[in-house]
Symmetry: C2
C-alpha cells in the first residue's frame, strides 16, 4: 500500500494554472486554423461562431408596410378626422411579395397588405381600420375611392429599409454560442451556413479494479462504473464530444495502454477518473509523470482533494477522483472552464447574461464544514413561497459515502471557504447549479 503524500495546491493557484494551459491550447487551435468548420445554420444551435458575421443586405430590404391599409402621401391625410375625411383615389393593390409599377402621388393611394413594399411616391400607410371605401363616378367613369378618417405622419406604419439590420452591420460576434435568437437573425439576413469552432473532443478513461461497465455481469466485489456516464454527460453539457475509452484496471500496463490509446485518437483533452488517491499505489500519477508532466496533484478542497492536472504531449489531462460526487464537483470547478475556453468562448461570455448558473437560496438547517478545509456542500433545493416571494431552501446532502442517490438528489453545491465552519439556518447562500436548466438540443 504505497502511500503518497499529496502536495496540496491552493484552489486559486490551480485555477490559474489551468487557465494558462487553456489559453495556450485555445491559441494553438486558433493558429492552426483546422479547428473550424462550416455548418448549416439549421444544425448550428449551440455551436460557437468562429468569425464575426456581417449582414450582406438591409433588413427589411425595402420600405415595408407593417399594417394592412393604404399607401399614401402623408400630407394628403393631415387634418383628416371623422367629420372631414380625406378622399383619395385608389390605384391598384400590392400584396406581400409583389412590387407595384404604380406610383402614388398626391390625391391617390394604393391598397397595400402587411409586408408589401411601399410603392414609389408613398411615404406612409393608413391603417385599414381608419378608412372606408366607396365608389364615385368622375367624368362618367366609376372610380374606387377611400375616405381616410385619421391623419398619418410620414413613415407611419412603415418599416424603413435597413431599419432592422443595416447592410454591412455585424450581426453575430465571433465567440458567440448560437441560440435561437442568433439563428433567427442569420435567417433574416439570408445566411444558411456559418463558420464555427469544431467541438473539442474529450477522451474519458475510468480506472479501478472494482469497475464493471453497465450492461455487463457484475462479479463479486465489483461495482458498476458511474463516472463514464456522468462525465460523458457533463462533457456534452459543456458543448464537447466525449469519447469513452473504457475501464483500465489498476495496473501500470493497462493505464499506460489507455493513455497511449487516448493520445493516438488525438482528443483535445483527456480525463481519467479514479486512481488519484494515495491508497491505490500512485499508478496513474506515475504514468502521467512518465509520459507527460504533472502540474497539480492535490487541491485544498473537500471533496476533490486528490485532483490531478497536467499535460500529455501538450494536451491537458485531468485526473479526477473516483468518487462520483468528487468527480462531478472537480469537473465543474476545473474541467468545464477549460472546455469553454478551448471551445472558442471568450472569457467574458463564460457566464452568460440570463444563464443563471448560480442562484440564491436559504440554508434550511445549520450546515457544518470541516475545520480548515475549503468545502463544497451538495444541496437539494426545495422551492417555497415566503411572504409572496418565491425562494429556495437548501438542504445539505451527506457526501462522504459517495452514494449515487445523494448525487442524484443534488441540485447544486454551496461553497464554505476555509475559516467558515458554520452556515446558520436561514442564511442566504449562493448555490452553483449542477444541472443547468435542461434544454434539449439533441437531434435524432
Amino acid at each position: 500500500m504505497g502511500k503518497t503524500f499529496l502536495e496540496i495546491t491552493e484552489i486559486k493557484e490551480v485555477e490559474a494554472i489551468i487557465a494558462r494551459i487553456a489559453t495556450e491550447v485555445a491559441g494553438t487551435r486558433a493558429k492552426t486554423g483546422t479547428y473550424v468548420e462550416k455548418v448549416r445554420v439549421a444544425e448550428a444551435l449551440g455551436r460557437v461562431v468562429a468569425t464575426d458575421i456581417f449582414s450582406a443586405l438591409n433588413v427589411p430590404p425595402f420600405d415595408r408596410a407593417t399594417m394592412d391599409g393604404f399607401a399614401v402621401v402623408a400630407s394628403d391625410t393631415f387634418y383628416a378626422d371623422e367629420d372631414n375625411p380625406s378622399r383619395l383615389i385608389i390605384r391598384g393593390y400590392i400584396s406581400a411579395g409583389e412590387f407595384s409599377s404604380h406610383a402614388v402621388e398626391s390625391g391617390y393611394c394604393t391598397s397595400i397588405a402587411t409586408g408589401a413594399p411601399l410603392p414609389r411616391g408613398a411615404n406612409a400607410v393608413v391603417q385599414l381600420e381608419n378608412t372606408s371605401e366607396f365608389t364615385e363616378v368622375v367624368e362618367g367613369e366609376e372610380k374606387k375611392k377611400v375616405k381616410v378618417y385619421k391623419p398619418v405622419a410620414p413613415a407611419e406604419n412603415i418599416m424603413l429599409a435597413g431599419s432592422d439590420i443595416k447592410q454591412g452591420e455585424r450581426i453575430v460576434r465571433s465567440g458567440t454560442t448560437l441560440m435561437p435568437r442568433e439563428t433567427g437573425v442569420l435567417a433574416a439576413c439570408g445566411i444558411n451556413e456559418v463558420l464555427v469552432h469544431k467541438k473539442p473532443t474529450v477522451a474519458l478513461i475510468s480506472t479501478g479494479n472494482e469497475l464493471v461497465a453497465p450492461g455487463e455481469d457484475l462479479e463479486p466485489a465489483k461495482i458498476y462504473d458511474v463516472n463514464a456516464q456522468t462525465l460523458s454527460d457533463s462533457v456534452r453539457d459543456s458543448g464537447c464530444t466525449p469519447i469513452f475509452l473504457g475501464i483500465a484496471h489498476d495496473s501500470l500496463e493497462e493505464i499506460s495502454e489507455k493513455l497511449k490509446k487516448s493520445l493516438e485518437i488525438g482528443p483535445d483533452v483527456i480525463i481519467t477518473s479514479g486512481g488519484t488517491s494515495a491508497g491505490v499505489g500512485d499508478l496513474l500519477p506515475r504514468m502521467i509523470g512518465e509520459l507527460g508532466e504533472i502540474l497539480v496533484h492535490g487541491v485544498d478542497i473537500k471533496p476533490g482533494k486528490p485532483f490531478i492536472f497536467g499535460t500529455l504531449q501538450g494536451k491537458p489531462i485531468f485526473g479526477l477522483p473516483g468518487n462520483p460526487t468528487s468527480a462531478l464537483i472537480t469537473f465543474n470547478l476545473f474541467v468545464a472552464p477549460l472546455l469553454r475556453t478551448i471551445s472558442g468562448i471568450p472569457a467574458q461570455n463564460h457566464g452568460e447574461r440570463v444563464k443563471k448558473k448560480s442562484i440564491k437560496a436559504k440554508a434550511a438547517v445549520r450546515i457544518f464544514s470541516e475545520p480548515g478545509r475549503n468545502e463544497y456542500v451538495l444541496v437539494n433545493l426545495v422551492p417555497v413561497r415566503e411572504r409572496g416571494k418565491e425562494t429556495f431552501l437548501a438542504y445539505p446532502l451527506l457526501t462522504g459515502s459517495g452514494a449515487i442517490t445523494t448525487l442524484s438528489k443534488a441540485d447544486g453545491y454551496l461553497f464554505m471557504a476555509k475559516g467558515k465552519e458554520i452556515t446558520e439556518e436561514g442564511e442566504i447562500v449562493d448555490v452553483e447549479l449542477l444541472t443547468e436548466i435542461p434544454n434539449r438540443y439533441d437531434r435524432a
Copy 2:
C-alpha cells in the same frame, strides 16, 4: 382583399381546447404502443422515460469500505486511545474489486482499501490515519500488527449493501426527462438501455408570397423566411424533431399540397406560420377547414390575435401568425404545452423544480399596454445589483414592426392582462424566459 372577421376566443378557453386535444393524442400514442423505443443510456439524455425503472440489484452490492484502513470487529477498538491503543494482528490486504477469503475475528484485522468489500466477521473500518503498523515476534514468528488509537462503532466507515439503492427499488419514474442525475443512477444499477417515448415529429410549413429560403437569391419585394429557423429551433428546444416542408405561396393549390404532404409523412403535429391574418384572403383557414376542423381562429391576446388551432385527420394543427415575434409567443403559449404532453411528460412535471422558466424582474421604465387587450410585452433583461442583491431590470421592446433584431434582444416576455394598462417603473414583474438556460445536449 377578402377580409374575414375573427371569432375571438378567450385565452383560457384556447388553452383548455388545446389541452383536451393534447390529452387525446397522448392517449392514442400510449395505446398503440408503437411510440416507444429502446435507446442506450449513453444516448438517452433529454429523453422521456416510458416506464417506471427498478433496480435489479443492491447498490452497493456488498458492505463497502468508505476509507482506507483496517477492517475490524468494532468491539476490539472500544476504549482505545492514544495512550492505550488496541493491538490487532493484520491478516492480509483487500483492495477494491477483490474479495478476501480471510475472515476477521476478534484480535485480528484486515488491511482494506476504499471501495473494497468488507471481509466476513468484520463490522467496521478503522481509518488509516488513526493507526500505526508495527512488527512483533510471537512464538518465534514475526507478526504484522497495528495499533488502533481511536475506537470505531459498528458500521462506521462502511456503506452497507443496499444502503444507496435497494434491490427492487424504483429508481426512475415513468415520464421523467432523463438528466445527468438520472443517467448516473441508471449506470450505478448496471442499466445501459432504457425504454423511452419516441420524440414527437413536427411538420413545419412557412406560408407567404414574400418568403425566400435563406441561402437563395433575394428577388425584389421578397424577404428571407425567419420562422422556419426559429420555429425549428423551438421545436427542438421542446424535445421534438422538426421536419421543415418548405415555403407555400399564398395559393390554395400550394397550401393544400403542403398540408397533404405533411399528412403523408405522418408527423404528430403540424405547424404553419403566416397566412392567418385577415388580409391575405383566408386561404389557410379555408384549407384547414376543408381538410379538417378549425377549433380556434383568433385569441384575445396581442401579439398573436390571428392564431389558428384545429385538427387534420386527428392531428393537431397550429396556424401561427407570420410575424416572427407573434409566431414565437404563440408557440410558447400554445404549442409548447401540447408538445410536452404528447412527449409523455406528465402535467405536474411541465415546469420542473429548478427549471426556472420564469423569473422576477423590475420594470426599468413605465410600460404601457393597449387598452382592452391581453398583451405580452417582450423585454430585454439587464442584471443589476441593488443593496447587495442581484436582480434584473426589464426593458420593454417595441414589437409592432416585427423586427428580427427586437426578437433577438428579447430575453422573455411579461403579461399585462386586460384591464392592466400601465406597469409602473420599479414594479416587480414575472418574466417568462424565451430561451431557457442554454444547454448543449446536441451530439455530433
